[in-house]
């Protein structure tokens, strides 16, 4: 397990967060001591902690957001509600809660491309996307997406003509942003469920397009 993490060594010194077995053991020991203290003081229970892990590892994730996007693609009145009051519209599908209390959805078009970030920490819409990927929380993305979004998007394989307006959304408050990507061409016959499968996490952050792996 400890070695699996490191199979892809990074070229970037700031991303080189490889830990030796000794360092990992030290971290495990710190966490063990902390958990032991908090449980023995009667402030948390093991059962509750296990449930939290289960929720964030299995229940919440981009599949939720994909359902929201697919609904917006097939249902024009839902799309309008989503753009007007995303929190309510997302609630309609049963999603909401911690780190998704105040949602705003921004729509990509032929002339506007939106991309979401948090330059100060790691704000991200948990109920619809789950926990953020490491790159979203690490310095390279957090810093450069604000000043040079086109170069970052290029690293994700997205290139835009100068005429396309790139809009960066920096999540500095408790408002959480979700991108409504363009519906891929040639999907006119797709039903909602098949459409949802085309919606990737990256397309809802704005660093990818729907329908691409």
């Amino acid at each position: 397990m400890a070695d699996q993490r490191h199979h892809e060594a990074s070229h970037n010194p700031y991303l080189e967060k490889r830990r030796t077995e000794v360092e990992t053991s030290a971290l495990e020991e710190r966490v063990r001591r902390l958990e032991e203290a908090l449980t023995s003081w009667g402030l948390v229970s093991k059962e509750t902690l296990d449930r939290v892990v289960e929720i964030y590892e299995n229940d919440l994730g981009p599949l939720n957001g994909a359902k929201v996007i697919a609904r917006a693609w097939v249902d024009e009145s839902y799309r309008k509600r989503l753009l007007e009051d995303a929190t309510e519209a997302i609630r309609e599908l049963g999603f909401g809660g911690l780190q998704g209390e105040h949602m705003v959805v921004v729509e990509n078009t032929l002339t506007v491309h939106n991309v979401v970030c948090c330059t100060l920490c790691s704000c991200y819409p948990w109920p619809v996307l789950g926990l953020p990927p490491t790159w979203y929380k690490d310095p390279p993305y957090r810093s450069r997406i604000a000043i040079d979004p086109r170069s970052v998007l290029r690293e994700f394989g997205l290139e835009f003509e100068p005429a396309v307006e790139v809009r960066v959304w920096d999540s500095s408050s408790e408002i959480r942003y979700l991108v409504l990507p363009e519906r891929p061409e040639g999907t006119e016959d797709f039903d909602e469920e098949s459409l949802a499968k085309l919606v990737t996490r990256d397309s809802m952050i704005g660093v990818g397009k729907a329908g691409e792996p």
């Binding site: 209390e101 810093s143 408050s173």
Partner: protein, 213 residues
């Protein structure tokens, strides 16, 4: 406080390197840190206060730690700051753990930052030209350095939200209007930025002043 967490606009961290098929957690101890953080969130004050604990980490530690290592550092410091080990009732294990059900409902319902108290009337309207004030608060703030002194346009009103700068320091929530403010990339980064590109960021009313002319 102006520290390394405020990274928007830095260009020194190299390429963004996403990990293919990244797991939600890379190590078992990360699961426990996430769960401990969420389960104890009620013990260590509002989110703004907990964010500030991260911001006060030594800059070298901040940059050299992985994300969950920073969260671990925060938990340890919070336990120490609150003096939990020294509290008699806690030391005897008489604390009241948050129940799994209560925590699940917190996760499901969230903790909205919007308020019906405080300043409800917005000073600015959509389309108004504003300038982000040149402030350098010594404590917690969500006024990123890269917008200070720059002018933009009110794009959206988010309603009244609690104010991080005071909330983080137990000085009251000071609820006030929150705005989405649009800045052109050129206003923020100079003439080399693409002409049509825009950056949107959420700013509280106390961060803003009218821009005349």
């Amino acid at each position: 406080m102006n520290s390394v967490h405020d990274m928007g606009g830095m260009t020194c961290f190299g390429p963004v390197e996403p990990e293919g098929d990244e797991p939600v957690f890379h190590d078992e101890w990360e699961r426990r840190v996430l769960a401990l953080t969420i389960a104890t969130s009620g013990l260590f004050g509002p989110l703004d206060k907990r964010r500030h604990v991260l911001e006060k980490l030594d800059p070298l530690e901040y940059l050299s730690c992985t994300y969950y290592e920073r969260w671990l550092g925060r938990l340890e410091r919070s336990v120490e700051q609150e003096g939990l080990a020294g509290k008699a009732e806690v030391a005897q294990g008489l604390g009241t753990p948050i129940s799994t059900g209560t925590l699940e409902s917190v996760i499901r319902e969230g903790r909205p930052a919007s308020r019906t108290t405080g300043r409800q009337e917005a000073r600015f309207s959509v389309g108004d030209r504003v300038r982000a004030r040149k402030l350098n608060p010594p404590g917690h703030t969500r006024l990123v350095q890269y917008v200070r002194g720059r002018s933009g346009v009110i794009a959206r009103l988010h309603g009244t939200h609690s104010f991080p700068d005071t909330t983080a320091h137990d000085e009251g929530e000071n609820p006030q209007p929150l705005y989405s403010v649009r800045f052109t990339a050129q206003k923020l980064w100079g003439p080399a930025a693409p002409a049509g590109d825009q950056l949107f960021i959420d700013l509280w009313e106390d961060y803003l002043e009218p821009q005349h002319g």
